[in-house]
């Protein structure tokens, strides 16, 4: 089997030559995967020179057709040989066969989509949703909790229905006593809330809003945003193969956003994710500081090497140029040399391409969580240690949602 790849404006053509049988099906499958991972969701398989296809080959077509269809992409077989055409019709796949001239061209982005080139970042900006600035409240006293521990008085019950987001340290349960040993990072976005118990299990638990069920988190510290996001679009790195450092992307958003403080959510295809997690509930600190060395080894876990694995992550948080009270206690510098402060959590899932075009946040979150179990939940930070530092979280492309934040309230205990 030979495969030639031809990059067209909005699609990739794969010209196949040879037999598409069990021996070669994985080869073809990985060629298609590679195209999808590079960010293209429209694939044409030109099969005029393929004279045999077995069930193993058909399986690849069906699997990728489904996967791409599920993210509003497409896979078609173009001008197949008589033999292949006959077989595809027999097995009921005539619908994916196209003749060369009438091959489906994906719709060009609507004229209202604006493309912004900003250094290493390219944004495809969708029309604004017209939503007003977002309301944000902060809860708890992070310094006191992290430097000494918490008590029942620090715990508040927060709900995260659709059109809210949140992050902080929390757990799901009936109250402080029930959650005392389980407090860890939490993440809430688009009608879902997830928590990671600090027991080393690395299996985030989550609740999706359904009917009258509202995701509810018992939180020791939290930031919570309410309202629809104003701006939405896609982002990608301008360099063909490169990724973006988280701070690069946030700086670019800051330039897009009129307000000094903004809320951000991302559904992103990611490379290495750099961040930290609690491995022991801060409620059990008993007066000592979380960061005390060497005790911190049993209390926190930190990415200390750059992985190469690709994932998909949901991110949410708040970014500000002017960290003032009461937000100040809840944000930290994004990276060395950046003027931004932020607090961002990420819920990590197995790799899955992020659909192109306009995307509804709640639908996207639901689709991700229904397709696979999350594999991790982290507080994102940059590792800027001079020698061993591994840098920042790397993002390739995805969807973003932004909203200016006007006022930040101190949540009532």
């Amino acid at each position: 089997m030979e495969i030639q790849k031809v990059q067209q404006a909005e699609l990739v053509e794969l010209w196949l030559k040879g037999r598409l049988d069990a021996e070669w099906s994985e080869f073809v499958a990985s060629a298609i995967d590679e195209v999808i991972r590079a960010g293209c969701h429209h694939v044409e398989l030109h099969m005029g020179s393929v004279h045999y296809i077995s069930s193993a080959g058909i399986r690849v077509l069906v699997k990728h057709h489904r996967a791409l269809h599920g993210i509003r992409g497409s896979l078609s077989v173009v001008s197949p040989s008589e033999q292949v055409d006959g077989i595809l019709r027999m097995v009921g796949l005539a619908n994916i066969v196209k003749q060369a001239r009438q091959a489906a061209k994906p719709v060009a982005p609507a004229a209202t989509v604006r493309e912004v080139h900003d250094g290493a970042v390219v944004l495809e900006v969708q029309p604004s949703s017209g939503a007003t600035a977002m309301r944000v409240s902060v809860h708890g006293a992070p310094e006191r909790v992290l430097l000494g521990g918490a008590s029942a008085a620090d715990c508040r019950t927060l709900q995260f229905p659709a059109e809210t987001w949140g992050l902080g340290i929390g757990a799901m349960g009936s109250g402080y006593a029930d959650c005392e040993s389980r407090f860890g990072e939490f993440f809430a976005l688009g009608g879902a809330a997830a928590t990671l118990a600090p027991d080393g299990s690395q299996v985030p638990d989550y609740v999706l809003a359904a009917g009258s069920l509202q995701p509810t988190v018992q939180a020791l510290t939290a930031i919570r945003g309410t309202g629809r996001f104003q701006d939405h679009g896609r982002f990608r790195a301008s360099a063909e193969s490169g990724g973006l450092a988280l701070s690069e992307l946030l700086e670019s958003f800051a330039r897009q956003c009129s307000a000094p403080t903004f809320a951000v959510a991302l559904a992103a295809e990611t490379g290495c994710i750099v961040g930290a997690q609690l491995t022991r509930s801060p409620a059990l600190l008993g007066g000592s500081s979380l960061f005390e060395f060497p005790a911190v080894r049993d209390r926190m876990s930190f990415t200390t090497e750059r992985g190469t694995e690709r994932s998909t992550a949901l991110l949410c948080g708040i970014v500000t140029r002017e960290p003032s009270a009461p937000l100040r206690a809840h944000v930290r510098p994004v990276a060395e040399g950046s003027s931004l402060h932020a607090h961002i959590h990420a819920l990590v899932l197995p790799y899955r391409p992020v659909q192109q075009g306009a995307l509804d946040l709640g639908t996207a979150v639901r689709q991700f969580l229904e397709s696979a179990l999350p594999t991790s939940l982290l507080h994102l930070m940059a590792d800027d240690r001079p020698y061993e530092g591994i840098g920042q979280t790397e993002l390739f492309r995805g969807a973003y949602w932004l909203s200016p934040v006007e006022r930040i309230e101190e949540g009532l205990p």
């Binding site: 992070p142 080393g200 690395q202 491995t279 960061f291 060497p294 911190v296 930190f302 990415t303």
Partner: protein
């Protein structure tokens, strides 16, 4: 069946080469329980098995087996209760002796000198029957020297010998690690069969996460001479190889967390 209480052992104490190989290990093993021990290199797995077998005396703590306090028993006395297979296929058998002679030694083990079966026709028939269950075609080679067998065949024989008299405790230390994949698979299969058949109380060390989840009813993960995780019951049932690997990854991260990382976390975590 086996009860370890706060067992400690330090090699070369108070010298630059001091190694605290066991730092307070306690384990209770019910009769018929099959415990898999995993852990990073040098975490103390082999030392733990050696401590139980009596290769050396522990510095402190107690070891009880089958109702006896064996803490101060010498190795040869414990051998009456314990069967053992090492990683090296050449260590469990006498290479110049024949298969039959080796088996006779195993069958006689723990019995007063001079007792036990002599190599008469009836005994040879029993050896042949048992060896046939290995499905390795060794039943017709009773008089061949052990040295002429492959690593996998030797390890299978060693296992058969170690379990011949249904020991109160079976110790397996990476006993398939030196074998090619196919032989390793055969020996693991045999291990599982023998342990199940005789409900042998077993401690098995392995580096294979797949073996750890496919065999046994309990998994202990050791690190720096201590038990870091002890998975039993439902926790054990749902453990997958990737979960165990993720626990190793956590250990590795923990090791890399130094004072600089602690300072970084204090600056960046909220």
């Amino acid at each position: 069946m086996l009860e370890l209480r706060d067992v400690r052992r330090t090699f070369h104490p108070s010298t630059p080469n001091e190694v605290r190989a066991l730092q307070g290990v306690s384990i209770d093993l019910q009769p018929g329980s099959f415990l898999i021990i995993i852990g990073t290199n040098g975490s103390g797995k082999s030392t733990l098995l050696n401590a139980v077998a009596g290769t050396f005396f522990v510095d402190s703590g107690t070891i009880r087996l089958a109702g006896h306090d064996i803490t101060r028993w010498p190795e040869h006395r414990r051998a009456a209760l314990i069967g053992r297979v090492f990683q090296n296929p050449f260590s469990g058998t006498a290479p110049n002796m024949t298969i039959a002679e080796n088996l006779a030694l195993a069958a006689r083990r723990g019995q007063p000198r001079g007792f036990g079966p002599a190599l008469d026709r009836r005994v040879r028939q029993e050896f042949r029957d048992r060896i046939r269950t290995l499905n390795m075609g060794l039943e017709d080679r009773l008089d061949n020297a052990i040295g002429s067998l492959s690593g996998g065949q030797r390890q299978a024989l060693t296992l058969l010998m170690a379990t011949w008299r249904k020991p109160d405790l079976l110790l397996l230390d990476e006993h398939t690690a030196a074998l090619d994949p196919k032989s390793a698979d055969q020996v693991i299969r045999l291990t599982d069969e023998l342990i199940r058949r005789d409900r042998l109380t077993t401690l098995m060390v392995t580096h294979s996460m797949q073996q750890a989840v496919n065999l046994g009813d309990r998994i202990v993960m050791m690190h720096r001479g201590q038990i870091l995780h002890d998975l039993q019951g439902p926790d054990r049932s749902r453990a997958r190889p990737e979960d165990l690997l993720s626990r190793f990854e956590q250990v590795r991260r923990r090791e890399q967390m130094d004072a600089n990382v602690a300072a970084l976390l204090q600056r960046s975590y909220v």
